[in-house]
Symmetry: C2
Subunit: 569 residues, 2 copies
């Protein structure tokens, strides 16, 4: 149980260059595991100054972590031993660091705002990048200005982005985050193949004023194409002409032939490239819904913000490289304290979808069990990422963060300045943001809880001693729960871009330390293959003889009966 | 690290009656940990029949778990040793099993559709329960029929529920789940104190046709009252008269004095009781938004569905008691395989908020570190609950479920019959639902991956052997990832009620096994106290001298500067 991977492999440090640094960290943890962070603050007036950082205008405070200067030295030594810098430089140089697929990983080129060329296979990709950006600018300007017209001559009031995973989570999150800037058509998102999604999305829309973006690199993604066909049928039925498709559908895709066959004008296909992974594609044509919602200039601000962090990541020394340190802290808790998860807690309604976005960014990148060379790992890799906005979470799951038995490192995020006039709300929000990391760190001893109970007269004169002891135990908090605080001056497009790039590079750093390929996602294939094989059986409500285990067959048959496809109840 | 709680306490079995069963399970795990579930199916044609259950019309399949008949016997022996049955009976008998607060736990009374009395302190609470239900029926009927009129004589078109935590997550989830039944006013929810929430919610509403429900048992919850005051000011400013408040605000609360002081007619206060915990309160007056959205009769169907499962939980023997078995499986993985989390994966857009609802239900109930008697635990308690709807999750985090190093037990849910006409979508959805649990269980060996690569000619003739080996490793899946499948015939109000009650009792069972008080939430208090103390400092932008650690003070001052409250940048 403890001390092994999910498949039973016993834990062991990675071999080779990482081993020494790894063992030094294990040793170091044993020395400091009883040190309280509050004591570190008490004994070191410079701790906050030294362990909080400003990057691209964001304040990132790492001082409430269970680390000393020595911890960070040992962690950066591990990063060095793992070749984090070399892998980073290889990424920026366009080397095929996505080994299993033999591809470069160049989403940083999409937001390269410098004059530097970015080479893939010796070829500067910046001219193509700029050409697609220019195409996005023209198109989004035309739609927003009402120059682009639908088949019946009306302007676009509503946009539906149909995509899933990387073609969905990023733009959906960004459009939600930037709602205060929204001054274009309404933008909705449909991703799930569950028919309830497209059915609900279309219900109150007018086909004459609705524009669909079909986001699928290959134009074959099952969910996306199923939803796209349903949307197409809805439009054609209403407007009465197949020719309407070309005025109401555009594609974010690279397969121009498939795009044409669907009825989309290839001139309205927005390309991206095989060196852009789905979960890193917000910065590409996949970001078109963002440009439509808030305007192309603000989409460019998003790119600018990310680029500023790219520059920091490229050039800052490891010891002051903020995304590197953020990534290393996840390694620290995940590999040396046994933490399985990482919580993302935005104190900002507008960032409600950030946890889901980072869930993909992290778990699809680093939820891996073989090294870049294909050897099974013997150490834990990526954590489970989860979270909800504060203050809501405080009334839901914070109980476990404070008093549960699991160690949950957590990121707290807040914007200093709100984008609404309700100052009193924001004061309370910020107070809660601060209070939670303070409480998680300081805790409350049973003696303090007892004293407080006595002072407040809880239980009154009749309270018996036994009950008071029980209450004091229930009202004590262990503290030393580690948190990162991230403060944005305001949730602008630029700040959002910086924030997302920070996380991307933190995730990159972790993958490099764990020696996994953070850029493929082979783990999604098996389920996809089995699903394709099952569709026909589901349609009939009868499993093929001997095709599945008894559970899968039994469930399939039961669902068939419940749907009335076959006899029985 | 491994083998200890977050606070460093080394793991040890619980003392007393549980110890023997616990050690037997540890021993048993060592014997079966290398057994593959697929082999168990192959050797046992009756496995699916025996390990899948029908309860209240729902099909619950536990056969894809890493269990044998012996495992379940040992787990039910642990439940018996832990006194699960006695605690359950005490709950139904109205005993004060919420020990720290000295309260009964009687949400089952709220949905008691039998003629049985339900006693708290010797008094039958059913007459009060029925009286409030009748009040809810009259009110929701009047609003839905347009008989209830606003201050200017207009009927209600929009309802905003203002509440947080237990006064929010349940009704929000249920209103979302039952959208196909919505035939009343539009219902929105505001919970977060972040001003963006109420600001966005009010933006497009007409005060003359908007009704607010203020849901707070004590009518003092900081977030809820802050939002309520903002809503009140908005309404009074628009309608020009304080007297309008009584026609546009009702309270779900028990403090009639505070309700009156706010301007609400006490006749429009809907009561609940101190034996209803917040996270179990959907079934009480807190469910009023559900009744407004879909009608009181359907709210009653929800209660009926829950009641049917209550009857099962009360009476079925442990070995066939579905919520007990579901709870015990979480114990199995959490305490004997080191799993930290539990994923909830509804293959249903309408259940998008179920994971967040169960997050609270589970984590606030069982994220505890002292026993019911106030002794620190030496075993892990509640898991971290997380999830997103499928098929979306497949394109986001399923990579880690399939190929990560963490064991994530997962619940897969689906409705056999959709509530929309898009049959093809539903076939694909169900196929994916089935394929994922099949894939998670069976996996794919490196040899199988290699054979498949050879068969499909991946890499072509030029592919070198080393690259093929690397690819085969990346494309192999360990399998044996345990899942529960739950099939609802259709997502009706009744089926939803049954589903939620199943989970409530599974969570109850876990808490009983872990010997924690699943009914208090002392862990939320410290942060709340510190936040109250911080508000004034945040308002000024200057920390009080010596009041906090340097991080909390430093962040507060930086935010003050960013907001322009103080000098500097």
């Amino acid at each position: 149980m403890a001390g092994s991977l999910a498949d039973g492999t016993p834990l062991a440090p990675p071999p080779g260059a990482r081993a020494g640094a790894w063992r030094a960290l294990e040793e170091h943890r044993r020395r400091i595991e009883r040190v309280r962070v509050a004591e570190l603050f008490a004994g070191d007036p410079g701790r906050f100054e030294r362990l909080s950082f400003e990057v691209a205008g964001l304040l990132v405070d790492l001082s409430k972590h269970r680390v000393t200067d020595e911890t960070l030295e040992l962690l950066t030594a591990l990063a060095r031993a793992a070749g984090v810098e070399a892998l980073r430089d290889a990424m920026f140089a366009g080397a095929p660091i996505n080994l299993s697929e033999g591809r470069a990983v160049m989403h940083v080129a999409l937001r390269n705002r410098s004059a530097r060329p970015m080479l893939v296979d010796g070829q500067d990709v910046m001219p193509q990048v700029r050409a697609v950006l220019e195409q996005m600018r023209r198109f989004s300007d035309a739609v927003r200005a009402g120059e682009w017209r639908g088949f019946t001559g009306e302007r676009v009031t509503d946009v539906i982005n149909i995509g899933i995973g990387g073609s969905h989570l990023g733009p959906q999150m960004a459009v939600r985050a930037l709602r205060p800037y929204a001054d274009g058509p309404r933008v909705r998102f449909v991703s799930n193949v569950d028919g309830a999604a497209i059915h609900d999305a279309l219900r109150d829309l007018d086909p004459a004023t609705t524009l669909f973006l079909i986001a699928s690199k290959t134009f074959t993604t099952l969910e996306t194409m199923t939803n796209a066909r349903t949307a197409r049928a809805w439009l054609v039925a209403a407007l009465g002409d197949e020719a309407a498709v070309a005025r109401h559908f555009v594609a974010l895709s690279t397969d121009l032939e498939a795009v044409s066959a669907f009825g989309i004008d290839p001139a309205n296909a927005f390309a991206f490239w095989d060196w852009v992974g789905g979960r890193y594609s917000l910065w590409s044509a996949i970001g078109l819904p963002v440009a439509l919602a808030v305007g192309f200039e603000r989409f460019e601000d998003l790119l600018e913000g990310a680029h500023a962090v790219d520059e920091h990541f490229r050039s800052a020394p490891l010891a002051r490289n903020v995304p590197v340190l953020m990534g290393l802290l996840n390694v620290w808790y995940g590999n040396f304290f046994g933490a399985e998860t990482w919580a993302v807690l935005p104190y900002d309604e507008s960032l409600a979808l950030l946890p889901a976005y980072l869930q993909q960014a992290s778990m699809e990148s680093n939820g891996k069990r073989v090294t870049r060379e294909g050897e099974p790992v013997t150490w834990h890799t990526g954590p489970i990422v989860w979270g909800q906005p504060g203050t809501d979470g405080q009334h839901a799951f914070f109980q476990l963060l404070h008093q549960g038995t699991r160690l949950v490192p957590a990121d707290f995020l807040v914007a200093a300045r709100p984008q609404h006039p309700l100052t009193e709300h924001h004061d309370i929000l910020v107070a809660n943001f601060l209070a939670q990391t303070e409480a998680l760190m300081t805790g409350r001893t049973p003696a303090e809880a007892r004293a407080r109970l006595a002072a407040t007269g809880a239980g009154g004169a009749t309270a018996d001693a036994e009950r008071l002891e029980r209450l004091a135990a229930a009202k004590s908090f262990p503290g030393d729960r580690p948190t990162t605080s991230i403060v944005l001056p305001q949730l602008t497009p630029r700040a959002l871009g910086s924030l997302l790039a920070l996380y991307e590079h933190a995730i990159f750093t972790q993958g490099a330390v764990w020696d996994v390929n953070s850029f493929d996602q082979m783990g999604v294939e098996l389920g996809k293959e089995l699903a394709a094989a099952l569709v026909d059986e589901v349609r009939r409500g009868v499993p093929d003889e001997g095709a599945h285990d008894a559970s899968t067959s039994g469930l399939l048959a039961a669902i068939g009966r419940m749907r009335g496809l076959t006899g029985g109840s």
